[in-house]
Amino acid sequence: MARIQWQLGKVTTIIQETPRVKTFRLQLPQWIPHLPGQHYDLRLTAEDGYQAERSYSIASAPEQTGEIDLTIERIDDGEISGYLHEGVRVGDQLEVRGPIGGYFAWHDGMADRPLFLVGGGSGIVPLMAILRHRSILGATNPTRLLYSVRTPEDLIYGTELQNLARQDPSFELVLTFTRQAPPDWSGYHRRIDGSMVEQEIRPFSEQPISFICGPTQLVESVANELAAIGFPPSVIYTERFGPTGS
């Protein structure tokens, strides 16, 4: 098998999603269709040869051919995310390889199964790729996203998610704000916990496939709750991240 090759992508667009989150659209000379949920490795090289790598989930749907969107949160003191946020402009080149990962990935064959997505913070990114692709496919499987953010301004893809929820009767968006909720907010205003998961699972008439992505603590608690309710591990897909010091 040929090694998944490093290639130089060209930054064509930078979208400021939230004060701490930017989407980088990269045009790739060797674009390969991905599965929603997969990631790319990104490598930065200093003039003295020093290199650092990280993995970033793909936000775009595979129908967006020839390019990928990587949505990246700026981490305090982050060597890579700090450079990407401060030092990268449209027209610059970034070295990436992918798509990578076969486990945390949504396949078209899952389109007839109900879907329960749970995201925390920038854990929304691979879930957004699933939602975008699912929407393009025209899938009508009952789908619910439980999305936890600190404050309204930390909501990534907020407008797009709300539009999707309005236009697609099979998709339900449930937000929880852990620190500060919008004025007049009547929804959840706490961290995702067992009773919230139980509440949000109840509307499903058939056991959904579940994709959970976010900080370790959130993923642990949701996955454990689903397992306790009786979900077999085979339908609980998890991706944990941070804090890893960068």
Binding site: L8, Y83, G87, V88, Y237
Partner: protein, 204 residues
């Protein structure tokens, strides 16, 4: 000068242990959790550990029997395929060599499938588990190993990427031919040497 570089990018933190950090890795001081699926909880009363496959007589230990085997301390650097490395981790556990003294391997045994509660598996050449290179970790930094990090017992193979160090391990199966485990079937390297950056199957 490299053929391509990112202008203005440079090392942010001083490289204190650069020679111990494999290519593409960075040092972290906390311990991220990476698991496919939920964390299994295994009551010690039901816990068992088996050596089976190509052995003359398979063995199965209870927790009590297993932890009565001679234990040792280990200090190792560990390297996760998700790019972090953690230096000087302190473990207590049972060397695989100690376990192998309890059985007679068939001569054709060359590979091992480590298997876990929660149905996780990973494949490792037998030689990479021998001569004190790998152990079953029971204590980490002086405390019993926490469930989210693979407790009560995990395999530790520090010289390979850390997904080879199967959490919640319940046995080793000896095989003649190499077979892919869980992540390996999903496109990850069959061997996983961090110093050669064997992250994915296509890196082998």
């Amino acid at each position: 000068m490299p053929s391509f570089f990112n202008p203005g990018f440079g090392r942010k933190r001083p490289a204190t242990h650069a020679e111990r950090i494999p290519p593409g890795q960075y040092e972290t001081h906390d311990w991220p959790v990476l698991t496919a699926g939920p964390t299994p909880r295994i009551p010690l009363a039901n816990w068992t550990f088996s050596l089976d496959g190509l052995v003359e007589s398979p063995v199965k230990w209870s927790w009590e029997q297993f932890t009565a085997l001679p234990q040792q301390s280990f200090t190792n650097d560990i390297h996760c395929v998700t790019k972090w490395s953690k230096l000087d981790t302190h473990w207590q556990g049972i060397s695989i060599e100690t376990l192998l003294e309890q059985v007679t391997l068939k001569p054709e045994a060359r590979y091992v499938m480590a298997y876990s509660y929660g149905e996780y598996t990973t494949n490792i050449p037998l030689e990479d588990l021998r001569h004190g290179k790998a152990f079953i970790g029971l204590h980490f930094e002086g405390s019993p190993l926490a469930a989210e990090h693979g407790g009560p017992a995990r395999l530790v193979v520090p010289h390979l990427y850390f997904w080879k160090s199967a959490k919640w391990i319940t046995g080793l199966r000896f095989m003649e031919h190499d077979q892919p485990g869980f992540w390996e079937r999903g496109g990850y390297s069959m061997y996983g040497n961090p110093w050669n950056e064997q992250r994915y199957r296509s890196d082998d």
